[in-house]
Amino acid sequence: MNNIFKLCIIIAVSLFSLFGYFYYKNTINHSEEYIYIDTATTEVVEYIEKINKMEEQVFKFVDDDMELAYLENTQDIELKYIDKKGVLEFFLAAISLNDIDLFIQSFELYTISKDIHSSAEKNKDIIIKDLISRLSREGKLIKVGFNEEKGRFGATSETVNATFFYSDGFEATVPITFSKTEDHHNGEEVYSISTSVFDMLNIIEKDKK
């Protein structure tokens, strides 16, 4: 009887340990990667040049009513936006290049539209340049730690913890939420950032003080 009781305890402890191990692996496992702003910028510029070259070739033979939306995809670009990390790379490149259009493209449209209309300034370029400057803390941003939390049984969360590292040693961790949009042109789903820039700045500028 005593041996049976011991055996039950051992089995129970083993099962509990096994369950705990898988729960840990699948629920609170963190995988931190770093996105360096210089590397991301180089890659994004290369991708944009690819698209520009493709368009140059196409315009040599299409008529003037060709709508660019229906050109063949440059898969490298598409692959970037179907992945949260890829969107962050574009976001960082936009900051590095001070590229207003690229910056807008990183965001879910309704989110960025609300952000740029938070000021009465009619010239939205001025507002976006100010946002870029504040996010980069005037060009000091060097990398972002990309920490994608895995949910139960490997399901990934739509929110990642992004740690912004600056050249003066300052760092701030910002939760960034992504949303998916389906493109009716080809049925692909792509990610964009649905966290307000002002929510990011509230954390970065609060931590700075």
Binding site: D63, L68, A69, E78, Y110, S113, K122, H184
Partner: protein
């Protein structure tokens, strides 16, 4: 008269034709040299279908030399000058005074440009999908009724055409704060404005459709700083110029 529609070779007297003759048959009309046109593309030319009737009237007037002398072309139809005066007066009234007010129009806002249609923005400007999309798309989604498209700002229509990937499309030239812009509206079911026409912000241009290269009914809307060109090098992100997007659908 039926004989004018289907061809005078079928005339049995007084411009009438035999009751057994199918006057909607395109082959019968072609054989008779009639003016009947299949305007709505359903395979027949039905004089009781307004769409076919309008196309047929236009065909008749064109053949009667409307481009050179409109009054003479209309006279050719009824041989009465009082009738010509009446038609011309009514045409002028419709052309200059009639205003169509469709339902589900977007709110006219005080910004430089207004959102040109209601509905959710389904595709943004830029390279999200591995290619350059030089405007934004606003979807019709599951709305079963006609969804109107309106002019985003005051301006002059410089292009109203059915052509290429844009399908039925309109380009409007605007001058705002001494700066020239052009806006483009594509994939409409038809066009309610003509080239050279002055339009005001919020004026009806046509309904959302899927003409041209389109996978479903939507508006493809572009803004250009300066003139539209085939490479769309003057295109800008409409999100920067439109009021805050609110409709999520």
């Amino acid at each position: 008269m039926p004989a004018t529609w289907v061809g005078w070779k079928y005339n049995i007297g007084g411009g009438l034709v035999s009751l057994s003759l199918d006057i909607t048959s395109l082959s019968v009309i072609k054989s008779g040299g009639g003016y009947g046109v299949d305007g709505c593309g359903d395979g027949k030319a039905d004089p009781f279908d307004p769409c076919d009737a309008i196309y047929t009237a236009a065909h008749y007037l064109a053949k009667s030399g409307y481009a050179i002398d409109p009054r003479k072309a209309i006279f050719n139809y009824n041989h009465a000058w009082w009738y010509v005066d009446k038609v011309m007066a009514k045409a002028d009234e419709i052309n200059t005074q009639a205003v169509y007010h469709p339902s589900d129009t977007p709110e006219i806002t005080g910004d430089y440009f207004m959102v040109p249609a209601t509905g959710r923005v389904t595709s943004g400007y830029g390279m999200r999908w591995g290619k350059r999309h030089t405007g934004v798309d606003i979807g019709k989604n599951q709305r079963p009724y006609d969804v109107p498209i309106v002019a985003a700002a005051d301006g002059v229509v410089i292009r109203s055409a059915f052509k290429g990937a844009y399908g039925h499309h309109v380009i409007i030239k605007h001058v705002i704060n001494n700066k020239e812009y052009e806006t483009l509206y594509a994939h409409m079911t038809g066009r309610a404005v003509r080239e050279g026409q002055r339009v005001v912000k919020g004026q009806f241009l046509g309904n959302m459709g899927s003409t041209g290269d389109s996978t479903g009914p939507h508006l493809h809307f572009e803004i250009h700083e300066g003139p539209w060109n085939p490479s769309r090098t003057n295109s800008v992100d409409p999100v920067k110029y439109l009021p805050q997007l609110k409709y999520k659908g």
